[in-house]
Structure formats: C-alpha cells, structure tokens
Subunit: 307 residues, 4 copies
Amino acid sequence: MDLDSILNHVAEKVEPHRGSGKVANYIPALASVDPNKFGLAIATKDGSCYRIGDAQEAFSIQSISKVFTLSLALQKMGDALWERVGREPSGSAFNSIVQLEHEKGIPRNPLINAGAIVVTDHLVENGDADAAINTLLGVLRDHAEDPSIDIDYEVAKSESETGARNRSLAHFMASFGNLDNEVEAVLSAYFRHCALSLSCSQLARAALFLAFDGEDPVTGERIVTSQRCRRINAVMMNCGHYDNSGDFAFRIGLPGKSGVGGGVLAIAPGEGAVAVWSPGLNDAGTSTVGAIALEALMAETGWSVFG
Amino acid sequence: MDLDSILNHVAEKVEPHRGSGKVANYIPALASVDPNKFGLAIATKDGSCYRIGDAQEAFSIQSISKVFTLSLALQKMGDALWERVGREPSGSAFNSIVQLEHEKGIPRNPLINAGAIVVTDHLVENGDADAAINTLLGVLRDHAEDPSIDIDYEVAKSESETGARNRSLAHFMASFGNLDNEVEAVLSAYFRHCALSLSCSQLARAALFLAFDGEDPVTGERIVTSQRCRRINAVMMNCGHYDNSGDFAFRIGLPGKSGVGGGVLAIAPGEGAVAVWSPGLNDAGTSTVGAIALEALMAETGWSVFG
Amino acid sequence: MDLDSILNHVAEKVEPHRGSGKVANYIPALASVDPNKFGLAIATKDGSCYRIGDAQEAFSIQSISKVFTLSLALQKMGDALWERVGREPSGSAFNSIVQLEHEKGIPRNPLINAGAIVVTDHLVENGDADAAINTLLGVLRDHAEDPSIDIDYEVAKSESETGARNRSLAHFMASFGNLDNEVEAVLSAYFRHCALSLSCSQLARAALFLAFDGEDPVTGERIVTSQRCRRINAVMMNCGHYDNSGDFAFRIGLPGKSGVGGGVLAIAPGEGAVAVWSPGLNDAGTSTVGAIALEALMAETGWSVFG
Amino acid sequence: MDLDSILNHVAEKVEPHRGSGKVANYIPALASVDPNKFGLAIATKDGSCYRIGDAQEAFSIQSISKVFTLSLALQKMGDALWERVGREPSGSAFNSIVQLEHEKGIPRNPLINAGAIVVTDHLVENGDADAAINTLLGVLRDHAEDPSIDIDYEVAKSESETGARNRSLAHFMASFGNLDNEVEAVLSAYFRHCALSLSCSQLARAALFLAFDGEDPVTGERIVTSQRCRRINAVMMNCGHYDNSGDFAFRIGLPGKSGVGGGVLAIAPGEGAVAVWSPGLNDAGTSTVGAIALEALMAETGWSVFG
C-alpha cells in the first residue's frame, strides 16, 4: 500500500473543506488557532511515519489525552477502575451531568469529562497532582520516543479559569464519594493533561501500541495486555466522540478519540495509528475536516474494522 | 483454525453457567422455553457450518430480526432512511420513550424498538403488512438457502396482545409525523418479524453476507454494498445491545445483535457469522450464557475487531 | 363590591391586548376561531352572573373539563383514585411522557393529559364510554342549571383523528397496567369530554360549587365533601396550567385550570367562580388575554388566596 | 377561635406519631437531635403567640431561611431577580441538577437549593458574605423582635464540609454565568443562613408579615409590598416542599416551607403564621409529624386557603 500516494489523495479531497467547522473559543489559546490548519500523520508497524500538511505542528490534544490516562490507570489499578466508571456510551454531550444524577455519581464511561476526572483521580496519589502529571509526561515521551513533548501551561491555566463546569462535575461525584482526592488536586492534574501539546506525528507514534495489541511494534515493549488493549479500543469505538460516536463508527469504522482542539486519534488494528488535526469542529466537538480526512483515508485503505 | 475443537472448548467453559440468567416471561411462548438450552453455530466463507449443542433447534429470534429489516430497508430506500432514524447509541433501555420526546419523534438508532418500527414502516407499502413480511421471509429463506424458515404465529399473536409499550412508541412517532402507514399496519409487520423462528445454523447462514462486505461468499450474490455492510456492522457495534452495547463491545469485540429470546448474532468480518442461543438474559436483555460463549470463542479465535 | 364596574375596568385593561397570543391550530375547529374573542363571567354566591364581552358564546373548554371529571371520579371512587395518579406538579408540558417512564406509568397529577386519561378510565364502566359521557353531561347540565350544554362532536372527531400523542400516553399507561378499559374506549370518552362546549356563563355556574366548599350555594346541593373540594382546588393551584402553574399562581393567586381552546376557569373561595375566554395562547397553552384579564380582576377585587 | 384549646387537640392527635420519620443524618449536629421533639407556635395579628410542646427550643431552620432571603432579595433588587431564577415547581428533589442542565443554569424556583443559591448571590455585594449575613440577621432579629436570634456556626461549618452537592450546583450555574460572586463567597453566606437557629415562636413571629400582606401587624412596619407578599406566598405554595409541594397543598392547603432540620413554616393569610418542628422527615424531606400537626390544625381552624 502506497501510503504517501494515498495521503496525497486524502489532501486533495480535504482541500475544498479547509477552514470549515467552528473553532473552539472558550479560551484564547484555542480561539486564536488558524482555522485552515490541517495535518495528518500515520505511524505504522515498522516505525515509519507518513505525514501530510501541518503534521509536525504541535496542537492542544485536549480530550485525546483521556486515552492515555485511561491506559495508565488500567496499568496501575487494573479492573478495579470499572467499579467507579462504566463503559457504556452516554448518549449525551461531553459535559452532561444528567446521567450522573440518575446513576449516583458513576460516570457512564472514561472518555466523557466526568469519567476522565475519575480516571485522573486514580492517577493522583495522596493529592500529588504534580507527580501524576510527571508520570504521564514520562510515559508519553517514552511512547513517542520524543522527550520534547510537554504541556502548554498557558492553556492549562485558561482551562482552570474557565473550568466551572468541570468543577461542578467533580464536586457532584465527590458528593457521591466517587473521588479519593480533593477536587482541586484532581482538576489540577486534569486541566494539565488536557493541555498536552503534541503534533500529529508525536500523537500517532505515542498511540501506536494500541494498534498492535498493546505492544509497541518498534521497541517491542509491552505497554498494556492484549485484552486490555482491545478493551481500550472498544471503549474508544463506542464512547470516543460523545454523542457523535455512532456517526464516527458509521462513517469511519475505527476506534477513535476526538479533542476540542481539533485533533482526532484513530486506531487501525494491525495497521497503524492515525492522528489528524484541523481546528474547526462539528456540533458534537469532533473536527469537521479531520473526520472528512479519515473518511477519505478509509475509502482508500479499507482499514475499517467492519469489513 | 480447528473450529470444531474450539467449539468443544467453548462448550466446556459454558457448561457451569447453563441455565443462568432470567428467561423472558412476558409471553407464554418465551416463558416456557427450557432455560438449559444452549446452541452455537458458525457459518464460514466456504459455506461450512460449525455447530454445537442445540444449534439446529429453532428459537424466536426477536430483535435480531431488526438487522435484516435494516438491511432490507437500506436496499430499498437508501440513505433516505437516516432522515427518520439516527445512528447513535441511545444510552437507554430497548423500549425507552424519553429520548423520543426530547428528540421529537426521531429514534436514536434502528436497533432500539422505536427505530426498528420506523424501519418496518419503510418496508410496508400502502399499508400492506403481509406483502412486507412475505418479502422479508423470501429474503431470509434465500440468504439462508432454507425455504423452511418461518414465523411463529403464536408468538406474533402474543407479541401483539402484550404490545402496549410498542403501540405507545408507534403512536408517539406518528404524532411527530414519523410513520407513513397506520400504526396497526406497521405493528402487524413488526410483531411478525420479531416472531421469526430460526435455528442458530439458519441464523448464522442468513447473516453470512455481513461478514463478507455485503456479498454472500457462497453464492457470490451481492446483497448490500460494501460501504453499507460496514455501516450496518458499525450500527450493531454501537447499538446492538441497547444500554449493554458498550459492555458487549468491551467483552466480545464484535458487531452483534441480541434478542429477548436468548439469541445473539455476532459478525466476525472476514471470518464468518456466529449465532448463539441460550434463553436466560442479563438485566439489559442479552443472553447471559450466549455472551459467555462468545467471550470464550473470542479468546480462542482472536476474532475481535479491536486487535 | 361593584362587580359590574370592576368588569368594565378589566375590559379596558384587556383591550390593547385583544388578539395577542397564538390560537391553537392542530384541529380546524379551533384554528378557525376569531382571535379577538374575549368574554368573562363571574358566578357568585346568590346565583348572580356578572358578564362582559363574549361571555355567552360557547367555546371548546378542552382541558378545563378535567376538573369536572376529577370531581366526578372522586365522588364515584373516593381516594382510591390517588393510587393510580399523583398530585404533584409535573414540571413538564401537558403531554409529556418522560415522567411516565421514570415513574412506571403513574401520572404526576390528574390535570396533565396522562392523568386525566386515568381519571376518565375510572368513569368508564365495562368499556361503556357513552354511558360515562352521558353521566358527565347530566352532571354539568345539572350544576349549570342549563340542559342545553353539549359536546361539539365535530371537535371530538377531530381530536380523535389527531390524537396520536394521547393514544401514545394511554398505551404507555396500559403497558404498566394503569388502565382498566381498552385504550380506545377510554379515549373515546376522553376526546368527547375535551370537546365540551360551554360559554363563560355556563362554565362559571357549573363550577360554582368549588368556590363554596363543595356545596352549590344556589341550590344547596352538596356535590363533593368540603375536604375534597379544598383538595380539588389545591390540585388546580399546583397543576392547573402544566409548566405554567407557578407563574399563574404568582400572577393571579387563585386555583385555576386552562384549556387550549383559550378558556380559563379560576376559583375564588368564598367569592365565586370566574370563567374567561380568549383564544390566543402563551407558550404553555394558557390564554394570554385571559391571564391578563384575571390579573386585572385580582388587582381590583383582592381575591387572591395569598393575602 | 380558642387557639389554646385547638392546640391541645392538635397535640393529642400528634402524640401517637411522635418520633416517626427519619432524622437527617448528613451532619452530626442534625443527627443527634432527639427525634421525639415536637413544638408548634402560632403568631397572630395582635402579636399573641400560641405555643405547645418544644416551641421555645431553637432548632436549625435550614431551608426555611430561603423564604427570608427571597424576601430580602426582592426588597433589594426587585423583579430583576426573576431573570435569573424561575417560579415554577421543579417536579424534582431539592438538590437535583438535571433541570439546571436542560434549562441552561436558570433554576426553576428560589426555594430549591440551586435557586436559593442564586438568591443568596443577590444578597452578597462585592464578595462580602459577612455583610450579607449581618444584614439578614439584623432583619430577622428586627422582624422577630428578638436580638438573640443567631446562627449555629458549628452547623454552618458542617454544612460547608459536606457541601459537595451544593458546590456542584453553584459551579454549574457559574458555568452559565448565573452567579455574580465567587462560588465560595456565595456558599459561605448560603451555608450560614441555612444554619440559622430559631425556635418555633421566633420563627412564627419573624414570618408574621407574610400573613398580613407584607406589613407587620404588630409594629405596622411594611416589609414587602402587598403584591410581593402574595407572590412569595404563591411561590411557597407551589415550590415550598420540593417534589412534595403538591401533597402539602393537598393535605394542608397553606403556603409553606419545610427544612431538613424538621421545621415547617406555614402562612395563613389574614390569620397568622404557624411554625412547627419535629425532626423526623418523610422521603421528600418534610417533617412527618409537622405535617400531621398542620393537618390537624387545619381541620380545627379551617384556615386552608382553598375554601
């Protein structure tokens, strides 16, 4: 398969749509991003990285970080995690609190905000948010073989300043006893991991293990068990795009996770990891152009898991 | 891969769980089924059928029929169907009406009852439910290469007699103009297709095209386009087990559809179609033993789409 | 208190608002009513009737009829009624089904559609809707001392033809076992009592007993017990205008019931019964001009129960 | 009317129920209250106070304080308050967040927790919670003609420590821009006013103006306008007991407000203010014995506003 040539086709198909969608504007650092940005990178089994467009420019990965915190929490705590967070699609928006009330503080899945906050709570020990973030950074740098990966602290600060809705979710869960640490300690870590800044190349490389049964195919390092890897992919398939998850599966057919910064991570089991970035979002917070690019990529590669 | 030997292992794993779960009891014909029944059949590319247990005993496939009506409606109407039914997980029970009110009579997906009723409405022309059912029967007999497949009319009659909740759903959608036919005409067809009686062998064979990109690998007949086949599988993955869909994807990793009669259909793209039957259900209406059997089968075959 | 003079003041205040609001248009018989119609009648203790405007023109009282069916059902069945319908405000629209699902087929109160259908079910014996309607008509004619009161059968027919939402509510409750009669028998009576046609004068007279502890002050006939009368008024206060009940209590301060035909009945305990009619409705289905008229009447009379 | 004799009858009726209901146990100071406590006080027009039982023992008035903050906020801000809080019954529990999400941070009414927090936000100027509380204390001492009225600061501290749910509500509204002050400043005032400690005698006296059109009948001081007084009573009638408001109106027929400390305030327009206290609560958080006492009082006095 000539992925370079395929990526050129994808770029052609994407071109007329550049700049469409609505850029997130709740914090200045996201609002000021050029809406015409578009990058895509594919990391494959042998460590090659196929790129197009702005694939080496760092962007705020936002909720895509939830995949890495989930993986880390499962490594650390095992299946005990599932006693405090479900794995069903919520059928609701990323920041909905309705389901939390009906289900007594147990979030539907680890990829909505409430669930990701519970996951982050698992990563924070004795209230030490800095240590949790340092561990996460170490893991990502290690996965991506790139020690330059870092957090955009200005974004993290803005997230905290505008984080009333996430504070509400966290206090709500705390009221049901579903947080071990103080709300502000958990959120301090949460806001920072959402402010991780990676390029498509770095992101695809960091997630490559998810396409190969939990083992990094380049270094041979086992990161999660094979079963756990499949399960993380299953959760991404059903819950990775909030109330747009069904449409994403329908159109693209890969497990994936979107972020409000315009990034989308998609996992093609046995093939590779794909990261795409374009800031304009659809109503459900998924990159409009990113989804078009992935749809075109699927048409050319046939990587859909569904046939 | 020695599927016969694998099926023996599956049967061993299932044995201690035989009879667990709760048999559906809202109609006599389901309530009276022996809870210890267990059958499993795998149809593969070359037309072989691997079987174990009660795989040749017909059972009420109930909601599994929704996969076939969806396929038929898409063949007949094309993507216009998606204007009247969504493709997102509902996050709710199979017969919930809450989402319908919030979303003005458009069901979340075609595999919950409300959505399947809309699909059935597409199959009924000019109020002629009998013709729609005859077409569906013809298609199933053709797919399964078995003209003996039929409806259990006693079950259909009981479904209609106890069908107040489905009547409510149908009238609700009618109030928003989302039914073309009279409610009773649509339900007459709906109750009958839910009363289809197939064995695991027949069911796996009838659905085999879904594992091979929409083309029957035995006859070479194209039934749905490749893209549409992937999309049906995607909808099954995200919505096939109501508010248990996430857990099914998590545990089994295949697109599937469960029925309250205890049947489960699972599609392993490129490998084959699996039908399992055991009457006892979990809280979400999925066969308890059927899910255990599929989990064991996945562990042996590695057919999960997620890696 | 010079009620004739007060009514003149009310008419002056109402004048600039004549024709405002939105006339119900789901059936032709309501849609064609002149939006400028306005009438108001007050029946008082000694049998006097004070009138203004179109107070002697019959209109479709619609949901106001629910007050009379409630009163009749309580006379017939006593407090057993409250096992099948609540008495709490629903916080939802008149035809919402959401609460019914969460609360297993028990409507929140007898003045939303679902609750009124349960009340009507109590009035229908052995499926005989005609007998129930004849009884109700007899009671209303007797209360109002006017044998000419009747149902507008064209409206009743239209209600039935467009009654999908109410059918849905009824089948939903039937699915929880909360209807004794067949759905269509109950609805046949329900659609007819909603099609009752009364003038403001007739309506105020028919409801006069509610202002005098359950006893008709003119004839001396006791219609309901004193306690039951207070309770009917309490239910009207909290639930009489669906999700606009709080605003009505806030602005007008009397127990009342609105109908989608533009009528509003208000009870001033110890003073009299007020019926007002003007077809244009606010978003919650209460007569816009009717509410303004009652507000003006309260300012002049001080009849608010709240001080 | 011989109120002393009536109160003796009430006490007889209440006796067999003493100690029933469930005492609030989320903070030690409430959990440790003797469940057999019962007191009732009636303040009347001429300043008399009729008492029975533990009517002079101070208890935590909790949510009853919301009536006084509402009155104060309306005096201070006028009807602008109603742009930020509704006046409809919520149909939900006191601390529900579901409606807030559906209605974008505008609470349904000022007597549920979320609404009362908005009201408190109106009372806090420039973040100065202490000043707001001092003003409120001054007003209550003035109304009750008793400078000894105070806050139980141990209760206030416990409320704050266990206040995760209220924090969640406050941050949720803040996320929609419906709080002017910092969340913790508002909650600091909110937790303190909920910790006000008054006896039945003090409470009835402090609320007496609500029974006399907004004017204190003893001192002649006008506290709120007549219209505003009626409206406060209307809000209490429809919303004063959360999802138990309809039942309270049905059984007792007076505007009222309950608190989780077991107190209930009821206003009999033109007659007087009634305060009752007994710690055991029903499922909706209203005093079980308090409601029985008020029901008995209504049977003897006929003070229901409904006839």
